[in-house]
Point group: C2
Chain length 329, copies 2
């Protein structure tokens, strides 16, 4: 986002729901508890790599901003984090990823088999917990969202021409893969609110989620890796086409395009090749384009918040946009 806007820290964003978030962590622990050894070991590891609870934060802020004060919001917030965790465990297994948040992934630390089964275990625990709340509405939202996420994952695998990947298809992918769960979190937070607020918050989460994923994809081109001090370019190494490259390809000359083609054809692209493509993407304006697009989505998200009355929670939701787009990692 533009330089004029002050950065918001995650602590600022979480401040209005800080007490609830502590209870979310306890709820999460309760829900995934297992009395057989491997699952207990896997759960302990997952709780250690527990992230920033960004999705529960959004749900609780949406709940508060829409005037809700339901005790079960904490449980629903734990469920949204649980669904996120289940998805990560399967995604890491599908991608053969070795690290997540600086810790070994479940597939790396235990095995591929255990990752598949534990993902199923966590997801079925989430469904059990939703059924226990005896309300079909959150179930309806989360069932739709998890189905969309699997479709997003599948689209990512589908063969496509890496050099002419349409931006519309990228949008569809990040909506399904990332934004749908953030949207679902905001919507479920506001299930008891008037329909206009519920729908505005669902759209807020969708726009925010898309901006969040574009910012993530940009980091792969810009964030200095700890060891080398250079951008990791991990997506490029794995032949993943994201918005900076899509935007740059339209502006590239034949020489640059053939360098990209060379990278996409190399089973294991060298660091030089990756660094070269990152430089051409930057020169062709791919990073600027992606930044502008994230900013556009951020502004759309901010606009949706006008449907809500002023409150600290609404301010925090506004700050969450800055956090999502400007976060350093």
């Amino acid at each position: 986002m533009s330089q004029q806007i002050a950065r918001a820290s995650l602590a600022d964003v979480q401040q209005p729901v800080a007490e609830e978030l502590e209870r979310v962590a306890l709820e999460l622990r309760r829900i995934i508890a297992a009395d057989f050894p491997i699952a207990a070991a896997v759960n302990a590891h997952l709780l250690r790599m527990k992230g920033k609870l960004f999705r529960p934060t959004l749900m609780l802020l949406a709940h508060q901003a829409a005037g809700g004060a339901e005790p079960r919001a904490v449980t629903l917030a734990a469920v949204v984090e649980l669904i996120h965790l289940a998805t990560l465990v399967h995604d890491d297994s599908v991608d053969h990823s070795a690290l997540r948040r600086g810790l070994p992934t479940i597939n790396a630390l235990f095995s591929h088999q255990i990752a598949v089964i534990m993902g199923d275990y966590l997801y079925s625990r989430a469904i059990i917990e939703l059924v226990r709340l005896a309300d079909l509405e959150p179930l309806r939202v989360f069932a739709r969202v998890t189905n969309e996420m699997t479709i997003g994952e599948m689209r990512q695998l589908e063969a496509h021409d890496k050099l002419s990947y349409p931006e519309a298809q990228y949008d569809e992918l990040i909506r399904a893969k990332t934004a749908s769960l953030l949207s679902g979190a905001c919507e479920v937070g506001a299930l008891e609110a008037p329909l206009a607020q519920r729908e505005a918050l669902a759209r807020f989460g969708m726009r925010l989620g898309m901006a969040f994923q574009i910012a993530d994809d940009l980091l792969d081109y810009t964030a200095a890796e700890a060891v080398t001090g250079k951008p990791s370019g991990l997506d490029l190494k794995e032949h993943k086409v994201t918005l900076p490259l899509i935007a740059a390809l339209g502006a590239m000359g034949p020489a640059d395009r053939s360098l990209v083609a060379e990278l996409m054809a190399a089973p294991e692209p060298s660091d030089e090749l990756v660094a070269g493509v990152i430089e051409r993407v930057r020169a062709a304006g791919g990073l600027d384009y992606a930044r502008r697009r994230a900013l556009e989505l951020a502004q759309q998200a901010e606009g949706e918040l006008e449907a809500l009355p002023p409150s600290r929670a609404r301010d925090a939701l506004r700050d969450s946009i800055t956090y999502a787009v400007d976060r350093p990692s």
Copy 2:
């Protein structure tokens, strides 16, 4: 089962619900329909390998036997088959199996990645369909059952001493892995029935399911493989400990036990070694013990049917026991 009881064919068992089963196949097709290429290809393959619809058969018979006549029973029966399919897709992926019902598995024909994602896709479609029926009761049963199935899969992976595997642990495993879904199918078929009938049918499904799995485990020791004409011993090759071996170990002398230990220590046991262990298991009475145990469970299942009024559907449920225990493959 004993020779005196006439064998029941699957067609006999399915006769009272034959018309509904045709609609189950159509419902299944509708529920898993997908508009993106890979999923459509995977679904087409799954529908080709579609099994005998044994779980939908049990649900529809339980429904009819308990006096039900709900149109949504057909949809619920499709959902139970869908949950079964989702489980198979992940199980084959976890076990690296190449064949299922004589056709290549999803992981073999497509990839491991696609198997993981498609299992998630199918399961989330099942949940969406259950939410659409707007009734928490079937959701409650199936959420519990799918969670139990993941726990069963996990227990199967847990390290244990293959030479002193307690029968109680085997019972727990086959309850979770196989019997819970058959029990859930029968219970959901009878959700509208008086509690005594619902509970009797749930117990019926559990006993039947355990007998079904023991019969399956016995086939690995007895059924002649098409090519070699000898028992496949596939479970033993993969170091899977099932009831015939558990029972035999208690009666084996040191020489036989050390042959079993040799097999369990061999990364890829030879056909001779497998055939040798099968012969010792037979000689030590392991097959007879497993047959007696299956018969005992079959009789317990039959006893539960006394809670129901006489009907063609109840007769067919009785025949389903014979089918489950005596089936040739």
